[in-house]
């Protein structure tokens, strides 16, 4: 047995620590994160034992820790290094072609520059087996509240500041990028349709209004109106 390796963090992890592992209920994006992770856990739980999975941009490696006993899951992140997380870049993955049957890319693409996004997608395509699946979650620059803001004020509401999300795009553009990288959309759903006013209230009181967040997603499941999109692609 080796001693647990020391952890090294850069980027947002250096500032905020393991914020995905130690979830704060009053984090304004917590309700969306919780809903997203429930879907990812369902997806991973349904995979056959020993399925080879890559969590690309895994952060602290929450899912790697959780599923490592049942799946052959690897985690890689450019801003994190830990016992089970290697530091690596999505635009140059250190794995041979066709090494994984499934790949996760959860809230990662928006952090990459416009130039790096197609590179990362083509790397994910390369390391997946033919017929393998890519599971992507990404925030949508043109969610409902942002569209309304654009109509009234002439500009969209960025999903985070430019330094954090340099690759912020309306969801349709991500779909085009994935298609051009050789992926075929299998399933798409949205989390959190951002109805103005209600959205502001939920962002202000995330812990108290998490039920309202869930109810909105059930009531208006229009992906293009949602803050977060969950997409499953097949590698052609």
């Amino acid at each position: 047995m080796s001693l647990p390796s020391p952890v090294s963090r850069t980027g947002e992890y250096a500032v905020r620590g393991d914020y995905h592992r130690d979830l704060a209920a009053d984090w304004e994006f917590a309700p969306t994160y919780v809903a997203k992770m429930a879907g990812v856990r369902r997806y991973l739980s349904a995979l056959g034992a020993g399925t080879r999975v890559l969590d690309a941009g895994c952060g602290e490696g929450v899912l790697v820790d959780e599923f490592r006993d049942r799946l052959a899951i690897e985690g890689i992140d450019p801003n994190y290094e830990g016992e089970r997380v290697r530091r690596g870049s999505l635009t140059a993955l250190p794995f041979p072609d066709a090494s994984f049957q499934r790949a996760l890319c959860l809230d990662v693409l928006e952090h990459l520059s416009f130039d790096d996004q197609p590179r990362a997608l083509s790397e994910l395509h390369r390391v997946l087996t033919p017929g393998g699946e890519l599971y992507v979650t990404v925030p949508n620059l043109a969610h409902l509240q942002s569209r309304v803001h654009f109509l009234l004020m002439g500009r969209l509401i960025r999903t985070a500041n430019l330094a954090k999300h340099p690759g912020d795009r309306p969801i349709g553009e991500y779909l085009d990028l994935a298609r051009r990288a050789g992926f075929e959309l299998v399933e798409r759903r949205g989390i959190f349709p951002t109805v103005p006013i209600i959205t502001r209230a939920i962002r202000r009181h995330p812990a108290r209004l998490i039920g309202l967040h869930r109810w909105l997603t059930r009531l208006l499941p229009i992906p293009g109106w949602c803050f977060l999109n969950v997409m499953r692609f097949r590698r052609a």
Binding site: M1, S2, S5, P6, S8, E74, I76, P78, E81, G82, E83, V85, R86, R87, G88, S89, A92, L93, P94, F95, P96, D97, S99
Partner: protein, 56 residues
């Protein structure tokens, strides 16, 4: 403990995709194609091109 052998079996150089092998008593992973050595810090390989050194 050195790098997990199961991981080592699948790791390749991020640049040329050649399998890497252990050098310097486990302190590095070397690619024979581009001669880059990726450091291993606390048993964790750092597979970043920018962090690698080129050795003969």
């Amino acid at each position: 403990m050195a790098v997990d052998p199961a991981l080592l079996e699948i790791l390749v150089c991020p640049l040329c995709k050649t399998p890497v092998h252990v050098v310097h008593d486990g302190a590095g992973l070397k690619c024979d194609t581009c001669r880059r050595v990726y450091p291993v810090k606390d048993d964790i390989p750092v597979m970043l091109v920018d962090e690698a050194s080129v050795e003969d």
